[in-house]
């Protein structure tokens, strides 16, 4: 692809903004479907695909998935049914709960991964909003944390030392917390999703996380050098 982001020539805070936006968009795609959500979905996906396109050949699969999602039409109710069935409660039973603990050794929620996540948030100076009723290892919470980290990176701007520290933090959370379980979770979603949308979305999230991890690794080396 010609219009890949060139890490070296592009302004890094711009890239970070785009990355934050990618996380934001993916998170938005994952919220429970509503009327306004579905009407805005093509717009969000357009944006997402144009951001992702910039991230080089490794995102080819991502872009393809975006296209696929965009082409297909899903009725709101189908998506709601699938969402509920896969992620909340379903018949026969909840199939792919979007919580890290569900994929750890014990069957319990709020297991060690949740506590690990909570510690990471606290270390980054974040607390749970009193109105939220979610566990720390919920997919959206973890994606939101990545956005927070991107924002922090933008705030420190070009002071390379700090920025690379934050990048390190992002890379760490990504590879140690998010990616291990999302890759498993995605498998469950893919095998169980009847509508197809969430299978693709899960694959997309998984792909994006991998892509971002590679990006962070590359730039991490650069900033050290």
């Amino acid at each position: 692809m010609q219009n890949n982001i060139n890490y070296r020539s592009r302004d890094s805070s711009e890239i970070t903004y785009l990355r934050a936006f990618a996380y934001r968009t993916l998170a938005h795609c994952f919220i429970y479907p509503s009327k306004s959500w579905i009407s805005e979905l093509p717009g969000w996906l357009n944006t997402l695909s144009s951001i992702l396109e910039d991230f080089g050949p490794s995102t080819e699969a991502v872009v393809k998935t975006v296209e696929e999602i965009r082409k297909e039409k899903y009725s709101l109710q189908t998506l709601q049914i699938e969402y509920t069935r896969l992620f909340i409660n379903g018949a026969p039973s909840v199939l792919a709960p979007p919580y890290a603990s569900a994929y750890s050794e014990e069957r319990w929620f709020y297991g060690p991964p949740a506590i690990r996540a909570l510690h990471t948030y606290q270390k980054a100076g974040l607390a749970f909003s009193p109105k939220s009723r979610e566990m720390p290892d919920y997919l959206l919470v973890e994606l939101e944390f990545m956005i927070h980290l991107c924002q922090n990176e933008m705030k420190v701007g070009k002071s390379y030392g700090e920025a690379s520290d934050i990048r390190e933090e992002q890379h760490c959370f990504l590879t140690e917390q998010l990616m291990p379980w999302v890759s498993v979770w995605r498998g469950y979603v893919e095998t169980s999703d009847r509508a197809g949308f969430y299978a693709k979305l899960a694959a997309l999230i998984n792909e994006w996380l991998k892509t971002d991890a590679v990006y962070l690794e590359n730039t991490g080396e650069r900033s050290i050098a």
Binding site: R24, A91, S93, F109, S132, R133, E144
Partner: protein
Amino acid sequence: MGVKDNTLSRRDFLKFSGGLLASSFMLDLDSDLGFLVPSAEAAAKPEKGEKKLYGECGICSMGCAYIAYVQNGRIVRLEGNPKDQIAEGKLCVKGYSSLNILYDPDRLKYPMKRTNPQKGIGVDPKWVKITWDEAIGMVAKKFKEVIAKDGPQAIVIFARGKPHLKHFAKSIGTPNLIIHNSACDVTHDIAWESMVTGEGKGRPFTGDYENSRYILSFGWDGPGKSKNKWGRAINNALEKGAKLVVFDPRLSITASKAHEWIPIKPGTDLAVLLAMIRTIINENLFDQEFISNYTTGFNELKVRVQQYTPEWAEKISDVPAGKIVRIAREFATTKPAVVASHKRDAGGPLYSNSFRTAQCFIIMNTLVGSIDRPGGRILDRKPKLPKEDEFVKYPEYPKGVKERIDGMEKYPLTKKGNFSTVAQGILSKKPYPVKAALIWKYNLPSFPNRLRLEEALKTLDFIAVSDIYPTELTELADVVLPEGTFFEGKGLKERKFHAMYPQMALVEGIKPLYDTKGFKDVLYSILEKMGLKEYVPDKEALKAFSKAKDEALGTTKEEIRSNGGIWTGDKTFKPKTEFGTPSKKIELSPSLLKEKGFDPLPYWIEPKVMPNKEYPYRLIIYRTPWQRMMKTQNIPVLMEIYPENTVTIHSKEAEKLNIKEGDYIWVESTTGKIKVKAHLSEGIRPDCVAIDHGFGHRGKGMTVAFGKGSNEGDLVPDMTIGEMLKNPDPAANSMWNEVVLKIYKA
């Protein structure tokens, strides 16, 4: 947040403007994320170490107060609260493992509605998550429609008889609040109410067994059901030299600790009791002082029991006359002595004569002066608190139809509903059709012959279910209203059922894990949405009520917290000298029964069914220490200990039928048949088989419980109200054990 000023390149801008409105450029987190907020405190003081949280275990009615240890917002372990007179620092196996319920991935998390019009067990309802507003709106709308078209009686509410539920039913005007008492303790309830506590006052659960010197049990297996206070009490009593005698067709855990286990013929405890009462009265072994000061009707009783000689009882019950007489004498002469009882013992809803058996329990305890005396059965000692209705006033309730769908208006003493007759009532549409149901934490296997109820519920237009778990019943629901676990509630709880002195337990609760709501709130919201605001308690009044409660206790929650989570009232035991009956005495020949047209005195009633050639075995239902009804089967560790229920068969009988330990066998009654794993034992009467309750979930949503074991309730017949009325029982009990069976290898 903070990124508005980050400009984008021109190319990017063009790209974005093609896709989204400019306002979306902001990384706006608040609209649908916003779980995390910056907090300097969090960074400075990350959560470490343990926090104590007080609460009350909600697994069974004992309600042990616990201390939960919280790390990182997660409860890591539970201990019994040592200050609580019931827990005494310990919980039971179910309590200890109940954290599995709180953190169970299978739990109901958000309100949901069905989108698949087809209903049935195993049929995907195609749930869709909705908001609480929508959910409550749906229920309210439907209820209003039903009321307008078919009248409020067309709404049936299946729920425990909490005051707010009674209030809700009355407010919408339906007589049909179906409480589980017919399957639980209705016989004891009415026996106590008519003889001791007075109409509508209920019954005590408390027994000062620890200080008894002679404990008689007729099928009572409190220690064997992990009622841990009773287990300790029995252990301590035995250590102090008490004698324990157990009449039970099955060698229960209590019986395993007893001095004597008498494998009595099921359903004949009444005969033995009548003979014992006769012995104690005729040999003048009763407590003269107690009888003359605190009872009425002794002479009538004396006359009545003359016909029931020990020899007569021997013929009926298989218990030798000499043994009956000896135990009666020992019981009357060793003080204090007590007949222990709880719910589903011989005086529970098991046999056609159980009400009379329950009556005899009270008579026995009265004869030896053990009603509200140390070492005996103790009446409630609740803290004296203001009542809600002193603060919250409602307008008069609408006058609706009196007739109930379960026909219970035909029973003057029990008004709590009947699990046995409700299904056939709905199916027959008599006296009127039912259109909608609201169900709170009952599951199909809790009913006799659940298939009939399933069939009945399928005829309804609308079902709303509130529960913690996606039970098989929720698969029939149109709207699911998720409730939180007992770990997620808050408040002050009375130590009620087993308290020797007034105590209150502080319940703190962790932050709810999901979008759940307490059922009380749900009910008030429904009322509000239905336009019945006048029946929703005023917030100010509630505040005043809660303040008045604090004042009555003379303390605050903070103070209770610093005192170890328990408020304790006056501990001294003052035996009661007045009782709740019209005569203020214990009525051995109760006026209430007389008044309502029943025989006031116990008399012998044959069990409804007898083993015959085709069905040679009687069913005995029991409960294991590690399962609580249909509540705890999704706890992995408990299912690991005991993965499925078993049918206990006498080894000699099994040999005859060529059944070996662990074989799967069919157990068949006229109502249904189930496949269960066989367990051979010498500890059961040869003409009985025993099955433990709590298994056979059909709801796949409970992934651990699903498909494990079988539900013995499928063998128990349900009834029409006509059939029920044939049984001369003022309590209309469900007669769980009046079932004969055949068994054969699967």
